[in-house]
């Protein structure tokens, strides 16, 4: 018997399987509950251990998840976190990410059901992210760190199993991307010459936050030659201006630029604040109108920006981002003169930042505070 035995005995609450790794995974594959990789069997004991890090009522929904618009309960989410391979102490951050994704302005329905390859990207800031060793350094968006791999994976499994976005059923992505397995990293705050993302977005530095963005996979920005801030940013601007990203076609977009620490330092050494860098990039990231197909000009720009382009010259600039302040900049990564750029789903999704809080609204300082008494 565990603390959740009574909940699991409710009608429809549980699915039973032989207590065998292969049998559980065969069931998961048969029901379409996985991501193609083996899962950790969500036994009663493992789910109960996960819920020891949740002080909300375990069977009460705390969010509503599109496209099924079903209630997300800690119990359901904990099962997915176990399957993903999360350590129990990661669970408060998994819940935090789900809360953020289910905020109306993120528009999870569109991110889930679209043909676009976007995936929810989780960027963590603050002391608990460091305490749990969420990687923001070398290979930040790659493999190898349990926190990055499993927190992002738990979110993806929940999006499928609770939200209902199974491929071909509700997830209509043309290609999808590897980011749909897991897409989770921390900002490398120690390596940043500027204020971290969560402080920029209005939170105190000792808050732990997640910022969720409906983002494409990273596009690399490789510049090992530029010696000045302007030089590096010209390379970045050139990568940002692309005909194939949704952002350039909308009046409001919030793409993410992840500066590697070496590029960030070069830009800061040139006297640029984050805001200055955003202004430079917004001004310099553009393509001539005649780089776009006649159909895109006629059916998109002449519709959305009719006043601006109705009588424009063929080489009139089309800016990748319309407002400098909408560019999101974080610093992450290890050594090497690379940065990465993530265009987004476009104007109908807005990034959301949520903070890990105590019941009284103050900010959690250490993950142990989230353990049930």
């Amino acid at each position: 018997m565990t603390a959740i035995s009574a909940l699991l005995d409710a009608d429809g609450a549980s699915v039973y399987s032989d207590d065998d790794f292969d049998a559980v995974n065969a069931l998961v594959r048969e029901r379409g509950w996985g991501d193609g990789l083996p899962v950790v069997p969500p036994s009663e004991q493992r789910v109960a251990a996960m819920l020891e890090w949740c002080d909300r009522p375990w069977d009460e929904p705390f969010a509503t998840m599109a496209p099924r618009y079903s209630g997300v309960t800690p119990l359901l989410l904990a099962a997915n976190a176990v399957m993903a391979g999360c350590r129990p102490e990661y669970f408060p951050l998994v819940m935090l990410a789900i809360e953020a994704l289910c905020e109306k302005q993120f528009n999870l329905y569109s991110i889930q059901a679209t043909t676009h390859p976007c995936a929810p990207l989780l960027i963590f800031n603050g002391p608990v992210a460091r305490e749990l060793h969420i990687n923001g350094g070398n290979n930040a968006f790659g493999q190898g760190v349990q926190a990055n791999a499993t927190i992002g994976r738990a979110v993806r499994l929940a999006l499928v199993n609770i939200g209902g976005a199974a491929p071909g059923i509700a997830d209509m992505a043309t290609h999808g991307s590897p980011a749909k397995y897991t897409y989770c990293a921390a900002e490398n705050e120690a390596a940043s010459p500027w204020e971290p993302l969560h402080v920029e977005r209005g939170f105190p530095s000792d808050a732990t936050t997640v910022t969720v963005i409906g983002a494409e996979c990273p596009h690399n920005i490789n510049d090992h030659q530029s010696l000045t801030a302007e030089g590096v940013m010209m390379t970045i601007a050139g990568t940002m201006a692309t005909t194939g990203a949704n952002d350039i076609y909308y009046p409001a977009q919030r793409p993410l630029l992840v500066l590697g620490p070496e590029h960030a330092q070069t830009i800061a050494d040139g006297g640029y604040s984050k805001a200055d860098a955003k202004r430079f990039l917004q001004q310099h990231a553009w393509l001539a109108l005649n780089r776009f197909s006649p159909e895109n000009i006629g059916r998109r720009f002449m519709v959305t920006f009719r006043d601006q382009y109705a009588n424009a010259a063929p080489d009139a600039p089309v800016h990748a981002v319309k407002h400098a302040e909408d560019i999101i900049i974080v610093v992450a990564g290890g050594v090497g003169k690379h940065s990465i750029y993530m265009p987004t789903f476009g104007g109908s999704t807005t990034p959301v930042t949520c903070a890990l809080k105590r019941r009284d609204g103050s900010y959690v300082q250490t993950i142990d505070e989230c353990r049930r008494a």
Binding site: P67, Y69, A113, G164, I169, A170, M172, E295
Partner: protein, 72 residues
């Protein structure tokens, strides 16, 4: 369309073939499992107006049947 259907008004959603499963699932989710989906070939995006008109003409008989069924 959901709200229109819930008021008892005949409503149909035009849906290209690969999106029929999503359409049916969403109709169930929003409490209108009988919301009619009119299936058209895919892709629809990027078609010139003339091709759109051909697709529209092809589904008119379906729409006529739906209306006749509704008013019986």
């Amino acid at each position: 369309m959901t709200e229109i259907r819930k008021r008892g008004v005949l409503a149909a959603v035009i849906c290209s073939s690969p999106f029929m499963n999503l359409g049916k699932a969403q109709a169930r989710t929003f409490g209108v499992p009988d919301l009619r989906l009119v299936e058209i070939p895919h892709p629809f995006g990027g078609l010139a107006l003339g091709s759109v008109q051909v697709r529209a003409a092809a589904v008119i008989p379906q729409l006529v049947s739906l209306i006749k069924e509704h008013i019986k």
